[in-house]
Amino acid sequence: MAPLLEITNLRKTFRLHIQGGVEIPVFDGLELTLSRGEVLAVTGPSGTGKSSLLKLIYGTYRAGAGRIAVRHRGSVIDIATATPRLIGEIRRHTIGSVTQFLRAIPRVPTLDIVAEPLLERGEDAGKAKARAGALLERLAIPPRLWHLSPVTFSGGEQQRVNIARGFAATAPILLLDEPTASLDPANRERVLGMISEASAEGTAIIGIFHDAAARNQVATRTFALTGPG
């Protein structure tokens, strides 16, 4: 079975012009493949580029060199050279993402935030909201909070909204940046349960797990970053 994601020779370097053009290398020559159903845990000390790797795959960061090949709707697309429009399409259908922190927009209700990825796919509003509600319930965010903006929620609540949003529209690939970081044990278990289920259904997952126990519970493989060598 062909991999869903194939990264070859990936290099990322930050060039900070406003600080005299100093270059900060993140990694070089990185190779990685990901197949259906895998849960790949990216490990490594702080600053070795774990989040950067996820952002490169998602297209937020630009690659310095290399290839990030994604299986998208029957063809193989290199995200490193794809047009912004195509990356947008890939994000809507092929790669889902749960960032480390929720970007909460004031006045937008929680339910709408979670339903949004489905609406962007053209899903019917009623069905989208129903699915959003189901996910929020599963993550113990009670209905009385759904019409509120998550701006005033606790860190843990915000993270759970973020996760619900990431899982709303099922995509072949899912990127998770510290999904259990701010969660208490009960919620942590819920999230890990969702990850396992998704993986069992074939979703390929790349995750950054600070917590070794969580990592060990769900990861099928690890990928270690060691810093620029």
């Binding site: 060039r15 900070l16 012009h17 406003i18 952002k55 297209g59 937020t60 960061y61 630009r62 912004p84 429009r85 990356i87 947008g88 399409e89 927009i105 004031p106 006045r107 937008v108 949004e116 609406l119 962007e120 796919r121 053209g122």
Partner: protein
């Protein structure tokens, strides 16, 4: 929203505007698809307003051209349209939201008439339906129905801006140009307006080109972004790309200059 929209809605090719020897904007090329919101970001004098005016046919470009896909599927070069076709386009398929709502409203006429005017301009002759459409849009932009007969002179700045948006959207345009739509408004008023614009553009298939100096507005509204400096587009890409991984020195300066609250 489907992915069958293969053809771009608006294409700029090598667009430029010179004022004598002075550069307004130069060598601007991009394509905009249905449902996309493009932010044009830059500081004063960057050429972003000039670019917007060239795109929306308010200024005649010195070089390059702009192509637009009309409702019937035909793509037309805007400079080849007749005056009548241009004006019709501006009244039906396009919208333009000015920074100062007074430039985009008839201040001497009621809010209902402001919204209804475009409908009357395209031949709607039933008072009841016109008023119904006006009430519907007032509701969508969160203005109370009992303000329908008030003149915009009696409205606050934020209300006027929302009324301007309603007036532009009543004919179901496919492309809306916005020039600093939140400029001059109080922060809380801005937030409400941005939320409205976000709801109206996202998932409705409406395309928009938004000129702003405020990166937060760009982040909130747009899926793609162009950064302008000295009349040129110096960086462009997806909004999160440009804001989180800026490549050019000027872009890095802009992004780092924004205070985090």
């Amino acid at each position: 929203m489907t992915e069958t929209n293969d053809q771009p809605l608006l294409v700029a090719e090598g667009l430029g505007k010179l004022y004598g020897g002075r550069v307004g904007c130069v060598d601007v090329s991009f394509a905009l698809w249905p449902g996309e919101v493009l932010a044009i970001v830059g500081e004063s004098g960057s050429g972003k307003s000039t670019l917007l005016k060239c795109l929306s046919m308010q200024l005649e470009a010195s070089s390059g051209r702009v192509r637009y896909r009309l409702r019937d599927g035909r793509t037309a070069a805007l400079d080849e349209l007749s005056e009548a076709e241009r004006r019709f386009l501006m009244r039906t398929d396009w919208g333009f939201v000015h920074q100062d709502p007074r430039d985009g409203l008839r201040m001497g006429v009621s809010a209902g008439a402001n919204i209804g005017e475009r409908l009357m301009a395209v031949g709607e002759r039933h008072y009841g339906r016109i008023r119904g459409a006006a009430l519907d849009w007032l509701d969508r932009v969160e203005i109370e129905a009992d303000r329908i007969d008030d003149s915009p002179l009696a409205y606050s700045g934020g209300m006027r801006q929302r009324l301007q948006i309603a007036r532009n959207l009543v004919t179901g345009p496919r492309l809306v140009f916005m020039d600093e739509p939140t400029g001059g408004l109080d922060v809380s008023v801005q937030a409400r307006l941005l939320d409205l614009m976000r709801r109206l553009t996202h998932g409705s298939g409406l395309s928009a080109v938004v000129v702003t100096h405020d990166l937060a507005v760009a982040r909130l509204l747009s899926s793609r972004m162009m950064v302008m400096q000295g009349g040129r587009v110096i960086e462009s890409g997806l909004t999160d790309q440009v804001l989180e991984d800026p490549q050019e020195p000027y872009t890095q300066l802009l992004v780092s200059s924004v205070l985090q609250v």
